[in-house]
């Protein structure tokens, strides 16, 4: 039996999960990472993606957008601006997220002017959202 650690997933509106787990796969801004017990203390920002949690009772998956994960000696806390259990995500949710990202991209293009940074960020956000939809097996219009 592998070591377990405390895992918390909270969004501003509620606490989605709080349990003992063996490994957590986090969609970090710089790439996916898996945290297990006794991982070095780390703070990473999240990109929109699928967070998968392996516990003694099987695997749970959540879709998260925005926020950060804190890995400390106490365990892993993920603070996501929006988080939903993967099974609860519908086509409508993905469409809304993609539409938001598209709007943000359009807005960035309008306002950024010569600066490419914000446009690139928004484009990446959109690509991430689309990838999330793909990962869930839902169509992207």
């Amino acid at each position: 039996m592998a070591d377990t650690m405390q895992f918390d997933l909270v969004s501003p509106e509620r606490r989605l999960a709080s349990l003992q787990v063996t490994a957590v796969q986090i969609p970090g801004a710089d790439g996916d990472m898996t945290a297990m017990a006794d991982h070095a203390p780390t703070i990473t920002t999240l990109r929109p993606g699928v967070l998968s949690v392996e516990g003694p009772d099987g695997t749970a998956e959540y879709v998260v957008t925005g926020g950060f994960a804190e890995i400390s000696a106490r365990g892993v806390s993920v603070l996501a601006e929006r988080a939903m259990a993967k099974a609860d995500v519908t086509q409508g949710d993905i469409d809304a997220l993609v539409a938001d990202a598209e709007a943000a991209l359009a807005h960035a293009r309008d306002t950024a002017g010569a600066e490419t940074g914000p446009v690139d960020d928004a484009a990446k956000l959109l690509a991430d959202m689309v990838a999330v939809g793909g990962a869930l097996g839902l169509a992207n219009r």
């Binding site: 801004a29 070095a40 203390p41 703070i43 920002t45 929006r82």
Partner: protein, 291 residues
């Protein structure tokens, strides 16, 4: 002297008023429970968020490269006051207390030669502040249609504030809301959100030991705008609970007052009815004697 009929109508109308205030009180009690639950649910997020942020701020804050949201614009000439109040009235001194605090704050700033801009959330506060400080109003967020405040609403308000900050419209932002203590006590509170201020006491002592991915600065730059949204959201929830609490006690008072009024009117009604009866008797008796 009002007639018997008048008194009877009066009693009826006060009775129906009492029914309404009683119902409002019970509705407020139910809504208060829900609002408190929502505030409870958001607490873990807010607490963790602030702990991480204060750790980050402590380690990055000293450097010159710190983001403007944390270090400020180096100026404090223009102040933005965000006045958060309710959309509905009939909640006692709730809106008045918040507005009073904001108005005093604004007057101090104006007296000190600063420029004041006011953004209102909730129409009751806007109506109250418009009278005296109307020319300082720069915007209003309408939440009339919102049944239950969600994080998305807070994000919208935060986006508005941040957009104005990026455009250089102000240097310091403060939000005004009422902190919920219990049903009878709500404390009007002013909280500075830009530049961000963190309570050092709840900082993670071990924050310096964390690895950061990407860099500390990048994370801080990403999280600070979210921090504004988080604070606005927490304030909205506190405000929601305070509003329902204030309405509950206001309606409780109103119900009790209506009860007292009914008692008084009933006594008056009985007296005048007795007087009418006595009068009629006197008329009959004196009529009989005259024969």
């Amino acid at each position: 002297m009002p007639s018997l009929k008048d008194l009877k109508n009066r009693i009826e109308s006060v009775k129906s008023t009492r029914k309404i205030t009683k119902a409002m009180q019970m509705v407020a009690a139910a809504k208060l429970r829900r609002a408190q639950e929502a505030a409870e649910q958001s607490r873990p997020y807010t607490e963790r968020f602030n702990a991480v942020m204060s750790g980050l701020a402590a380690s990055v804050g000293g450097s010159d490269s710190a983001p403007k949201l944390l270090s400020g614009t180096g100026n404090d000439q223009v102040h933005l006051l965000v006045l958060m109040t309710s959309e509905r009235g009939l909640c006692g001194g709730f809106n008045t207390n918040i507005t009073k605090l904001a108005r005093a704050h604004a007057k101090d700033l104006i007296a000190a030669g600063k420029e004041v801009k006011i953004l209102t959330v909730g129409k009751k506060g806007r109506d109250q502040i418009k009278r005296e400080l109307g020319k300082h109003l720069i915007g209003h967020v309408d939440l009339t249609e919102v049944k239950r405040v969600g994080y998305a609403d807070a994000q919208g308000i935060a986006k508005d504030i941040l957009g104005r900050f990026d455009a250089g419209e102000f240097d310091v932002a403060t939000i005004f809301y009422a902190q919920f203590v219990n049903v009878v006590t709500q404390i009007p509170t002013a909280q500075q959100v830009i530049p961000a201020k963190f309570d050092d006491s709840n900082a993670d002592g071990a924050s310096a030991l964390f690895d950061y991915e990407p860099s500390e600065e990048a994370i801080l730059a990403d999280l600070l705008p979210r921090g504004v949204a988080t604070q606005v959201f927490a304030a909205l929830l506190e405000n929601g609970a305070s509003e329902q609490g204030a309405r509950m006690s206001a309606m409780d008072n109103a119900t009790r007052n209506a009860g007292e009024m009914i008692d008084k009117l009933t006594i008056e009604f009985n007296r005048s009815r007795q007087a009418v009866i006595t009068n009629e008797l006197i008329e009959i008796i004196s009529g009989a004697e005259a024969l």
